[in-house]
């Protein structure tokens, strides 16, 4: 918690993680500010523009304008202040959903769909866009500081909203630079109102009002001069006013045009050097903080007067913004913070690291390891980061913010660091395995193995040795076959602490090893234990996986009723929809097989297609799951006389065998299936089921506004490769255009029908 101010959980939403309410409202208005009446009138008089882009450099008063607009507009405002954490698309979309929910309730299944990071493009983002387009309460949805978001997936999801603004509502971007959300095409359709720096520049009377609000009284000619010199740039005028108030500038204000090469000098010479040493030190040192609180500032500066100082600074300086009504949290205007940070760096890296280190320790001791992590990273304290990631990684993974966890792990992406921080290597390997990156999963496993003996720091689960964590990981990646998988799982269970979160995984993997060795009774026994442990900890992705495995086992012994009951449970579990995680594959395969046994071929075909989208994630990194799921789906395809689907799945199994040849009894299953495929007399060509993993990755992106070039950038492919894959997709789906391919994909179940949300037809502006 930051300085005693709680990060509030909004009870009106089902957000999967704690939301910072300060992000869902604009900063509090300062005691005095210049009214932008003319601009507000302009915004009020053009309600038919569903999109408004306020694009201007820092310090032009974008947020101030929007705040004033909110006071005058009858419609409710849904506000999100974006920051770097919204590079994680799950975080970004959950905040958007929470903002919309503050005006009109958003269904729980929309929030659930946002928790599955691998399905965000296919399911989560389109569902949110549909939810927004379906709202009936006209609202203004504001995305402030959009320039701070650089994550492509987040920006693509925001771009989806642009075509889905419901009638009577407005979507507003406030940003320093034109956001890459497809504004060009919206501009050509006349749906966009743009306000730029020229519009936002203060006119002479507004400049005069700003100077008065800063207690600067000048002669008329002087006001005109300073206004002309700054060209109406609000921040420049305000900086000049502060300088004049503190004794007058020695450097001419002519340089204040927002040009970085001059503003830094002006800031240091005219402002910082004129403040009291205490105030200057306070402002500079606390610039390391994303959000300020009195106790946190006291901690990093080792003083006790921060509360009084922050209060005073807020009253006298509009660059210090209060975030809450309780006066417990503040932040600096981004331009101001940039300037302060620049000054702090001049004091040397050691000082910057020391301040960040204190901030990390304080936020950790306050019970907020997740917030401490960026500070520990800036402090370059890898030992502290290791401990923090151990605490925060699993909760962050389970809340769907894989991108956030991936970013943390990237700081360690160096073999030397991985070998000395084995817990991080373990988490990273699992993350790569479940995200369909087998080579990376293997590399991080090897680093973990090399470093295990030398790691002596304490573990968050209180296990005596990190070797037990590595044993679970090695069992999961199963490089040496089911017998070694069993040994690794048993060794892990012998040494993991009683309450360790890894115990449920060890039991799951012990069950899988038993299954691959033909010991169904042992498999069932271990999976029962895994399920109990998973349910008691609320670990839903694992719960679905274990139930799926048990259901398949039940079907194999002919107990259809038991399988039906288990799979009914899976479909009612809270959380992301089935088909969102790689771990859902076995449950989908079981559902397909059950449908077949119940004679419902149509449902079996649907489940088969639903499972297809998980194939890119089910790689040789997790061979026991990847092969098992494909075998089951191939059997279903065979029963449906879908030879192409069956052969495609067998082909992928052969590719997995290249890396993982030791597959126990599954090898017999594979041989039997190959014989059966060869003897198929009837051809039932369902080429849709033969989409390759590469084509399956591209398919959801065909449903967006992205060009083929842009799709290539997202997936690190050349345009030629994307075009080749896209052409193959059209052929297999029987389509002759991109939109037709998307329609066919929705019809066949390859894409969720939420992805095909028709753009809102404008009744008010063509």
């Amino acid at each position: 918690m930051l300085g005693g101010a709680q990060l509030t959980i909004s009870t009106s939403t089902r957000a999967p993680f704690r939301l910072d309410e300060a992000k869902l409202a604009p900063p509090a208005a300062p005691p005095t500010e210049v009214l932008r009446a003319a601009l507000v009138d302009r915004l009020l008089s053009t309600p038919q523009s569903p999109l408004v882009a306020v694009v201007a450099p820092a310090g032009y008063g974008k947020t101030t304008l929007l705040r004033q607009w909110e006071k005058e507009d009858a419609r409710p405002f849904a506000w999100v202040t974006l920051d770097e954490s919204d590079d994680d698309p799950t975080s970004c979309l959950v905040y958007l959903a929470a903002a919309i929910d503050s005006v009109e309730p958003v269904a729980a299944d929309v929030f659930d769909a946002l928790v599955a990071p691998d399905a965000l493009r296919r399911v989560g983002a389109p569902r949110l866009a549909l939810a927004f387009s379906s709202t009936t309460t006209p609202m203004v949805l504001v995305l402030d500081d959009l320039d701070r978001v650089l994550g492509r997936e987040s920006l693509d999801a925001i771009g989806l909203l642009c075509d889905r603004v419901p009638q009577g509502s407005t979507l507003v971007f406030s940003t320093r630079t034109e956001p890459p959300v497809g504004l060009a095409r919206l501009r050509t359709r006349g749906r966009l109102l743009e306000l730029g720096a020229k519009d936002l520049s203060l006119d002479r009377s507004e400049a005069s009002a700003l100077l008065e609000s800063a207690d600067v009284r000048l002669e008329t000619d002087d006001v005109t001069e300073i206004w002309e010199r700054t060209e109406g740039w609000a921040a420049g005028l305000y900086l000049g006013a502060l300088a004049l108030r503190s004794g007058g500038p020695t450097v001419s204000v002519r340089e204040l045009r927002g040009d970085d090469s001059y503003i830094g000098d002006f800031f240091r010479e005219e402002l910082l050097q004129r403040l009291s040493p205490d105030d200057a030190e306070f402002l500079t040192a606390t610039s390391v903080l994303d959000q300020l609180s009195a106790p946190l500032c006291d901690a990093i500066l080792e003083r006790t007067d921060s509360a009084e100082r922050l209060d005073r600074l807020t009253r006298s300086n509009q660059f210090v913004q209060q975030l809450d009504r309780n006066r417990q949290r503040w932040r600096y205007h981004t331009l101001f913070r940039d300037l302060l940070t620049h000054e702090l760096k001049r004091e040397g890296d050691e000082r910057v690291r020391a301040l960040n280190h204190r901030a990390a320790l304080w936020t950790l001791e306050s019970g907020d390891p997740e917030t401490a992590i960026p500070y520990a990273a800036e402090a370059r304290d890898y030992e502290l980061l290791d401990q923090l990631i151990q605490r925060a990684a699993l909760p962050v993974y389970n809340s769907g913010r894989i991108a956030t966890a991936t970013e943390w792990l990237r700081w360690f992406d160096d073999d030397r660091l991985l070998e000395t921080h084995t817990p991080v290597a373990v988490f990273g390997s699992w993350g790569n395995a479940y995200s369909g990156r087998p080579e990376e999963a293997e590399r991080w496993l090897r680093a973990a193995e090399r470093g295990a003996d030398g790691y002596t720091d304490r573990l968050v689960d209180r296990s005596a040795s990190v070797a037990s964590w590595v044993a679970v990981l090695r069992a999961g990646l199963c490089p040496d076959g089911p017998e070694q998988m069993r040994i690794d799982s048993e060794q892990a269970l012998e040494s993991l602490a009683p309450g360790s979160m890894w115990r449920r995984y060890a039991h799951l993997l012990l069950g899988c090893a038993a299954g691959m060795s033909g010991d169904a009774d042992r498999a069932e026994h271990e999976w029962r234990i895994a399920l109990e442990l998973a349910q008691s900890s609320g670990a839903d992705p694992l719960t679905t996986q274990v139930i799926g495995q048990r259901a398949l086992l039940a079907l194999e012994r002919g107990d259809v009723a038991a399988a039906r009951e288990m799979l009914a449970t899976v479909q009612t579990l809270p959380g992301p929809p089935l088909g969102s995680y790689a771990t859902h594959g076995v449950a989908l395969a079981a559902l397909a097989r059950l449908s077949l046994l119940e004679g419902d071929h149509e449902r079996a075909r649907r489940e088969l297609m639903r499972a297809q989208s998980l194939r890119p994630l089910l790689t040789w990194a997790l061979p026991w799951g990847a092969v098992r799921v494909r075998l089951e789906l191939a059997r279903v395809a065979l029963a449906l006389l879908d030879e192409v689907a069956c052969r495609t799945l067998l082909m992928e199994i052969r590719e997995i065998q290249v890396h993982r040849p030791a597959l126990g009894v599954l090898l017999d299953d594979i041989s039997r299936l190959e014989e059966q495929v060869g003897s198929l007399a009837t051809k039932n060509w369902n080429w849709a089921a033969s989409l390759t993993p590469a084509e399956l990755r591209i398919l959801p992106l065909l449903a967006t506004y992205l060009t083929l070039d842009e799709i290539g950038e997202r997936l690190f492919l050349s345009r030629h490769t994307v075009k080749s894959h896209a052409t193959a997709i059209y052929r297999k789906l029987g389509a002759s255009s991109r939109s037709e391919a998307v329609e066919r994909a929705v019809e066949s179940g390859l894409l969720d029908d939420f992805v095909f949300v028709p753009p809102v037809k404008l009744g008010h502006n063509g």
């Binding site: 192409v644 052969r654 390759t692 050349s718 030629h720 490769t721 080749s724 894959h725 052409t727 052929r731």
Partner: protein, 107 residues
Amino acid sequence: MTLRRIAVRDETIVEWMQSDHDGTSAVAKLDYRMCGLVQIAALIAAGGSVPSYRRAVELARLGGATPDEIVAVLAAVAPTIGVDRSVREAPKLGLALGYDVDEALDN
């Protein structure tokens, strides 16, 4: 007998061959792998489009052909059709396999 009927352009056989869009009918008596590889060889010789290569590659792979075996067709046909033609067709075959040769050469 099938060979003679093809040789005289028997209408029934022609109709059958033309309707056999994937070339895997009983008349051909080849499995998917062999059909796919043979079609790839024909495309190299005639100069095919990427979508056509793609189709043939899919057939071959469904039949168990590995990417290495598919690429080896370029070498296998070169003595018959000329190295130059194999060289010219290699990038298209690469794209059909999901690999952009031109881009890789730029890196």
